[in-house]
Symmetry: C2
Subunit: 516 residues, 2 copies
């Protein structure tokens, strides 16, 4: 058995079942070994940011890492932006990056680069295998590193000779440490503050956004009269149906600061203290009042649900009932007439079906989506965690690979779509049930809004740089060029009909929604 | 004047006239300052690898750096692969990467990353500006670093507060050191070896591939009975018309080793000793015989043309005549009938017009292109220097921005096209005279060839990972989705007609050529 085969066998033993791949010559022996190792599915992405984003989406839905297969430093570089988003989503991921043979590196052939240096800024764990004999062990350690709670980025560099040489030694999965519990005195201290506080809030992120944790948090908030909110961005939120309703901390810092204003106590669960997404001249970066006392119930490495359960017990809360804190506002009616962000949100909200996975990169055009779906059937919500746009289509692809019995609704905007539009081809090849609703306002609208906020005068060059028209992008042509059936809709009735039809059919669909 | 304006004024004073941009919120003040600073043209790319590749193409044709404008670590990461190619082409480039305000970084907001760490592996020079007052000076130093012979990658990180704060202090261009001359004794020693050698070759790269240097090298080769060849990949080769003909070192190591076999002497001019692009099991990485004596006439930092002139003088060569060593093989006839790599090459060769800029990322389908164009009219040839595919469409875009009075022929393959297909939109928006001839063999053909070379058994998963069909990519749809008129041709007559028509019309065109 060569190093490549030992790598694959070690990954499979560690529970990895999917390898998103964009291989090159240095990865040939890995590719050839795929046929000899049952249990690993390899899926091609035409650009590496599709590969890494799909690995992210898959892991968000399964809780298990996918592997990626990337071609040397530049191939890794192409996938870094979605590795950044995955890191910010606390996603477990094992990147396998082919490199030159160990004895070839010093010759500085054209594709040579400092692969460890490229991986480091976006990885928790980086290693370059020394020989075929170390590859299996390195792979097992990479899986263990990726699965360290709450989830990490492990990047394993595979020199070509470590891949093709024999012997390879497959290594059994290394047991994963469970997430630890917060100290009893922390739980007691927070319980005591929540009992006394005149104005408290729980800010939730990470694994605190799954239904059991949310039920506990909602019960705690209800019993202590605390507010309950999510961080602005999160990897995955379970919502709708019987699940507890939860507000979202707004994106714009003025609105976020207003929501946090006057709090005596803020309790963090699997998230950090709220800060501005960007800094702005003469505006504070820290969004809480200086008087607010901030305490962390569960750090990211700790057990969020366990911590919430312990806190509920400390507060004397028994019987946390499913459905008690569900959203009660009526679902939106099926909209009619002109397309705008409100009618688009109503169209998605009114047609939403149970178990849909919503991937939200709708940007400004998707502002009303969360509200319009809150009272819908149970579904998952995956958001842009790291701010590197181009995450939505790949994450939708990976979520669909993870959950073949569920439909993915990919809410996407024209600007962000164009970073990773190649994901549509993988959706077509794999026959994935992804409905892309593409909001086309023909601009980087968020930048125009931000420019207005700075008070800068309207600028001719800015207008040109933030405008996506001239020429208009035709997303139906783009989708069909990659084998995805597409349709452009001109009113809300057509949009709801197109969404409904996509739920009823197998395979990917793209619906272009011209706005403004 | 704020920091951003001082940056722009310093760049313009340093001779930078083009800023390829994909900005975000942290770059707003840079964008707003564009209107206040005459002399800088800003051009939008929809994905950052388009931005950096276009900056590369522009600089290859003008000799002057373009600036890029990128959005924090992930935006830079998206453009690294074409920065890698630019670095390998010895292209001068000034990257301006927006970052969080200095006081905001430690808060670890979602888009935070180690931007210096991201830039370092692919940059010769990296700096993060400390304040608005340092920005102008940093910009001037970045331009000087980029212009250090033969050309370098300078990455300047611009914190948002350094951009928006006052005062900014524009700084005059720093004088650039000229390339140095090799020592006289090196020239004398090489002259002496070339006189005595029974079997010598000159291997040329970098700036040694411009017409004056090539005439000198051809005269030297002729006088000393030496072979003359280029490195396998190079940033820009001036060829055709009266220019001296030169062979290319083949890509596959067996063929390259054969061409280098038996040499007593190898003289390097602006390139390194030839090594395999990749290593292969049981095959040497170094392609020259161990007995071959390798000497460097001109290092990359030295003056290649000056060195060749001095060498010619040392060899007593007077009168280097233009056209004396031009290619003499007949140009190909206009081909008819079925499309295959030979007829496609003949179609491009027979229609080639004077001053065309050929960007070559045709991969396996473009194997015969160099031969079919050698006897054509004077033209430039830009190749993939760093092996990171996805360079061709962006470089073609930048070359067209650099030379609005010349047509760019972008020879592209389906696999490589899909990494940076977004470049077509910029070609449409700017009305660039780029003809993309897209070879569609529906596979990563090079990987199938490489797999065969390894002797590995045909593999089912490999077949799937290297296959670009199922579904077929429709490049006419993709082009038209981005505003570029496209046509699919089914025979050689239609291909030559479509190429001819594109030369006669303004603006971009895409011609899809189905193969095999």
């Amino acid at each position: 058995m060569n190093g490549a085969e030992s790598l694959l066998r070690s990954l499979v033993d560690g529970g990895i079942e999917l390898c998103m791949a964009n291989p090159g010559t240095s990865e040939l022996h890995f590719v050839a070994a795929l046929d000899r190792v049952p249990g690993m599915r390899a899926v091609l992405g035409l650009q590496e940011n599709v590969v890494t984003g799909a690995a992210d989406g898959y892991a968000r839905m399964t809780g298990m890492p996918a592997a990626t297969l990337l071609h040397l430093g530049p191939g890794l570089a192409n996938g870094l932006a979605n590795i950044h988003n995955a890191k910010r989503a606390h996603t477990p991921m094992v990147n396998v990056i082919g490199d030159h043979a160990t004895y070839h590196r010093h010759l500085d052939a054209p594709l040579t680069s400092d692969v460890e240096g490229v991986a480091a800024p976006f990885s928790h764990w980086v290693r370059s295998s020394k020989s075929s004999r170390s590859v299996g062990r390195d792979a097992a350690e990479a899986v263990a590193a990726a699965r360290r709670p709450p989830g990490q980025i492990a990047s394993l560099i595979l020199p070509a000779d470590a891949s093709w040489n024999e012997p390879g030694v497959p290594v059994k999965a290394i047991p994963i440490a469970e997430a630890t519990m917060p100290p009893d005195e922390t739980i007691a201290a927070i319980a005591s503050r929540l009992r006394e506080s005149k104005s408290a809030a729980l800010l939730m992120g990470g694994l605190a956004l799954r239904e059991e944790a949310l039920d506990l948090a909602a019960a705690i908030a209800h019993a202590t009269n605390a507010k309950l909110m999510t961080s602005t961005f999160y990897g995955r939120l379970e919502r709708g149906g019987e699940r507890a309703e939860i507000d979202r901390l707004p994106y714009f810092p003025e609105q976020a600061a207003q929501m946090l204003s006057g709090l005596q106590d803020l309790v963090l669960v699997h998230t950090g203290a709220p800060v501005g997404f960007f800094a702005y001249p003469d505006k504070p970066s820290i969004l809480t009042d200086s008087a607010t006392r901030i305490q962390t119930l569960a750090e990211l490495e700790e057990d969020a649900e366990g911590a919430l359960r312990a806190l509920a017990e400390a507060l004397g809360i028994r019987n946390v009932e499913r459905g008690q804190h569900r959203a009660r506002a009526p679902r939106p009616e099926r909209p009619t007439g002109a397309l705008n962000p409100l009618t688009v949100a109503a169209a998605i909200g009114s047609t939403l079906r149970e178990h849909t996975i919503v991937v939200d990169e709708g940007a400004t055009s998707g502002a009303f989506l969360l509200g319009a779906t809150a009272s819908g059937p149970a579904h998952d919500w995956l958001s842009l965690t790291g701010g590197a746009i181009g995450m939505g289509m790949p994450v939708a692809t990976g979520a669909a690979l993870a959950c073949p019995d569920r439909r993915v609704l990919s809410a996407q905007a024209d600007g962000s779509a164009m970073y990773t539009i190649q994901a549509l081809w993988t959706q077509a090849r794999e026959g994935l049930d992804v409905t892309t609703v593409l909001f086309s306002n023909r601009s980087y609208a968020i930048l125009n809004m931000e420019l207005e906020r700075t008070g800068a005068a309207p600028s001719e060059q800015a207008a040109r740089l933030f405008d996506l028209g001239r020429p208009d992008l035709d997303f139906v042509s783009l989708a069909e060029g990659m084998g995805v059936p597409g349709v452009r809709v001109e009113n809300a009735e057509a949009l709801t009909a197109a969404i409904d039809a996509s739920y009823d059919e197998a395979g990917p669909r793209l619906i272009e929604v011209p706005l403004g």
